[in-house]
Amino acid sequence: MSFLSFAWDWLKQPQQWHGPDGIPIRILEQLGYTALSLVIAALIAIPVGILIGHTGRGALFAVNLANAGRAIPTLGLLVLLAVTLGFSPLAWLVPLVLLAIPPILVNAYEGVAGVDPGLKDAARGMGMTPWQQIRKVEVPVAMPLIVLGLRTGAIFVVATATIAAYIGLGGLGRYIIDGLATENYGEVAGGAALVVVLALAVQAFFTGVRRLAVPAGVRQQGRPS
Amino acid sequence: MITFEGVTKRYPDGTVAVDHLDLEVPAGQTMVLVGPSGCGKTTTLRMINRLIEPSSGRILLDGQDIQRSNQSELRRGIGYVIQQSGLFPNRTIEDNIATVPLLIGWKKARARARARELMTLVGLDEQLARRYPYQLSGGQQQRVGVARALAADPPVLLMDEPFSAVDPIVRATLQDELIKLQAELHKTIVLVTHDVEEAIKVGDQVAIFRPHGHIAQVDSPERLLAAPADSYVENFLGFDRGIRRLSFLAASGLNLDDRTVVEEDTAASVAARAGRDTGEDWVLVVDAGRKPRGWAAVARLDSLPAGSPAREATLEPYGHTFSVHGDSLRSALDATVLSPAGRAVGVDDDGRVVGTTSYDRLRVAIHAAEQAADRSAAPGNGTAAGAQRQDTAAGTA
């Protein structure tokens, strides 16, 4: 049987849609973890990234952060914290936030650092304070990349949260992990299919956000040549 | 020899870059295409090696239509030098120069040896051979570009604003070296520039383009300066045309005066008399080797105690000298203007004073030279090799 038939067989069972282990709840849980981690990561990463981009200090750190973030095995981090912290929510929250920070930070940094130096010069020359420069010129121009960083971060979080089911987290990963444990491939497939759909939805959501949040003039110049 | 016959280049959006161009580039000479931005000179150049294909008309290279040759083969026989040099950053200097020879099948050793030969020819230290382009200055990179174009000894060399990206001092040096090179190699060179001074300095023939791909005049630089075809050409050549033209007239035609040249040990009174006898206020003092030392005012010589040598008078600097054999009337005129005495010092190849000139003598020489030039440029006297006048009635933008 193919993946889709397995998944479909399981998904069309009405009981999957009810109760505490039901699909709607799990979806909400996954979205919840994602949103929470993303917000925390963004609150940390965006200001730091903007600051590094504006002042130019710590650029080396920013660039290498992405590489470092990529090298850390998600499963390892999750499992490590689970064992050392026990049932604390930090066991999953910290890894999710930590893994979301690099893309958000680096993109915010590159977005601000990549602003046309002529533009920055003009802003300084006009007498804008640094804060004004950031708020009125640098951030708007960096918007496409900042949102892109959020999108990448969101995707990382969705993927990590799925894996975090292994250490007991709820969400759609639950189906995958439980299904693997009970050798119920239908459940595994169903879970995987839902995760895929969710990931695509999150991707589409941020693509939409980008259209709305980015001022039209900036969007024009952002098109690939 | 390169011939353009009715060549037109029209782009899909309607712009006409080159319009029914007829032009003959004489073999073994430097033809400079010059004109304002967008006039079609670069397009014309790039049609020669088929980087751009004409919409209509023919281009003949040594009598053969270039359309009939294979593109790549045609290009391997034509050297191409561009503004940004286009050196391959991933190859050493010698491998860059050896590119075309290697392409046509030379053995590596032979190609590299040829590369080193060319490096010497264009004035590059051989030690740079194994370096990479990023390690060279702009001027050096341009020389490599020229060497690379010459590597397979192509009969034709195309140059597209080759010296525009370097600073003026380097540019002047490179221009001089190109002239020297051409004197040795006698390639058919087509050079595009927007700088009319460069065109005049470097070109044997200069084609001045109007906007939108018409030629206003094709002539030798000297003829252009002497007889511009219309006001467009005149404006393009810029002011000072008369004086600039003098650089094409040899200083050897000057009748120099040596009566007021005195050796430094001559008695001041004798020197002063030499000046008075010829009606001049200044006398040129020279040393034992007849090298110039400076101008002495007759009045000052008179004020010296009797018997003092001329050298003890206060001497004004003699300024620029001009070479009687090599320089032009323009140099002589320039030297005259700069001299406090209103007279210039003409020297021979060893730096020894031959005589002095004055505004009067210059006037005579200029007149004579111009008449001689006009006579030899008259139709039927066989100058301005083959260049054809273009239809100057074509409208301008």
Partner: protein, 226 residues
């Protein structure tokens, strides 16, 4: 505690990390060349890559199970696709980074398109491609450990085993070795780049971090400039 199996795990992690990246490279070079040659091809390829990159690796492993079972291939295929997503923009960027005057000079000297690609454009693109390769290799090594959840063995085994036994040291060793392996591969690739590009100034321009981020859409955002 059976430590004798660790070298095998290291080898497996390396295998599962490097093979997808190399396969991705082999596919992305022709694909990238095509995207540069036929410009209209690039936007859809990029969109496809963006979408693909968004999918969690675990989900993709699972999708393949009915077809390739619980073997290495199940892990290698999705990781190859991820590597592809990263490498295609890099190949395209690398080729586009060839200065126009260099390309023109090559054509004017009589280089055919293929020769120009092989002797001039691809060599110049090497640094950018290797930057992408670094991302691909490091990501793959790290993601391969997730394959342990479906039983595909690698250093991830130490992590899972350590969790089940509450054995922190084992977890740390597993994770630490993964990171070390990734680091070693990264350094080797940097050395490879240095060896292949003696023609580059040592104090090179800082590599744009977007390319290192690996999100194809981000690469496209930055692409063309710099």
């Amino acid at each position: 505690m059976d430590w004798s199996a660790v070298p095998t795990y290291i080898w497996e992690s390396a295998y599962l990390g490097i093979v997808p990246a190399l396969l991705g490279l082999v596919i992305s070079v022709p694909l990238g060349i095509a995207c540069v040659r036929w410009k209209w091809l690039y936007p859809p390829v990029l969109s496809g890559a963006s979408v693909l990159y968004a999918l969690p690796s675990l989900a993709l492993f699972i999708v393949l199970i009915p077809y390739t079972g619980l073997t290495d291939t199940t892990v290698i295929i999705p990781l190859t696709l991820f590597s592809l997503c990263v490498l295609v923009p890099n190949v395209v960027d690398g080729l586009r980074s060839v200065p126009e005057d260099v390309r023109q000079a090559a054509t004017a000297m009589g280089f055919g398109a293929l020769r120009r690609l092989a002797q001039v454009e691809l060599p110049i693109a090497v640094p950018v491609v290797i930057a992408g390769l670094r991302v691909a290799v490091v990501s793959s090594i790290s993601l391969a450990s997730v394959g342990q959840l479906i039983g595909v063995s690698s250093l991830g085994y130490l992590i899972i085993d350590g969790y089940q036994r509450d054995f922190v040291t084992e977890i740390l060793i597993g994770g630490g070795l993964i990171i070390a392996l990734a680091l070693v591969c990264d350094v080797l690739l940097v050395l490879l780049r240095r060896a292949l590009t003696p023609w580059r100034p040592r104090r090179g321009r800082r590599e744009r971090a977007q390319i290192l981020i690996g999100d194809p859409a981000v690469a496209a955002q930055a692409g063309g400039a710099g």
